[in-house]
């Protein structure tokens, strides 16, 4: 499942709710859950960050997140994947992104989770603009 939203979210509650929705047939079908949570720091490249605005390309963002998940499913034996990503105004400490994978074993779960966040960072059309002491500043790619 993928979701792109403006509202603040709690990644741990989202994971709990996602698993609860799968019902009893999920029980025992996976041995590993790998989770990545990216949050907003109050510093970046030597300057203070008071907040951030995340711009995205509605439609293309969702399309590419789905595509990245489909690639992971084609590459590894996964029970399921979950991506939630914020847009709009964020404050330091806010979770920006949640990526989770469910698989039989840890190697697969870790590899797929890493693949999803790495591909998201290079392909999903999001742009970060930081509020710094010198004004608004577009973040440069890693």
């Amino acid at each position: 499942m993928i979701r792109v939203q403006k509202e603040v979210f709690d990644p741990w509650r989202e994971l709990d709710a996602f698993q609860a929705r799968q019902g009893p047939e999920w029980a025992g079908r996976f041995g590993a859950t790998a989770v990545f949570v990216g949050s907003l720091r109050d510093f970046n490249q030597g300057h203070a960050v008071a907040g951030m605005t995340l711009e995205h390309y509605p439609g293309m963002t969702e399309g590419h997140l789905k595509k990245i998940c489909a690639e992971a499913h084609a590459r590894w034996e996964l029970l399921d994947t979950l991506i939630i990503h914020r847009y709009g105004a964020l404050l330091p400490g806010d979770p920006i992104v949640l990526v989770a994978t469910w698989a039989a074993g840890r190697d697969t779960a870790f590899a797929a989770c890493r693949y999803l966040i790495d591909k998201l960072k290079t392909r999903a059309p999001f742009w970060k603009q930081e509020a710094t002491p010198d004004g608004a500043c577009w973040v440069k790619p890693e």
Binding site: G63, A124, W127
Partner: protein, 77 residues
Amino acid sequence: MSSITVRYFASLRERLGRSQEQLPAAGISSAAEVWGRICPDPMPVNTLIAINQEYAGPDSPVKAGDEVAFFPPVTGG
């Protein structure tokens, strides 16, 4: 549908001072030609192009009814 929708994001949107516009499709056959119509300057290095929300290149074909987007490298996650 004899026009092309052109969209801009992030620093490129700010630089051009607009987020979206319609261009007559006549005489345009590639993404690079779209850029040539909307801006007198060369396309900034590292600009990414999407046609109908799929990544494309400057030589990718463009036709009437398409949505073409130009944006800087992405920084999500």
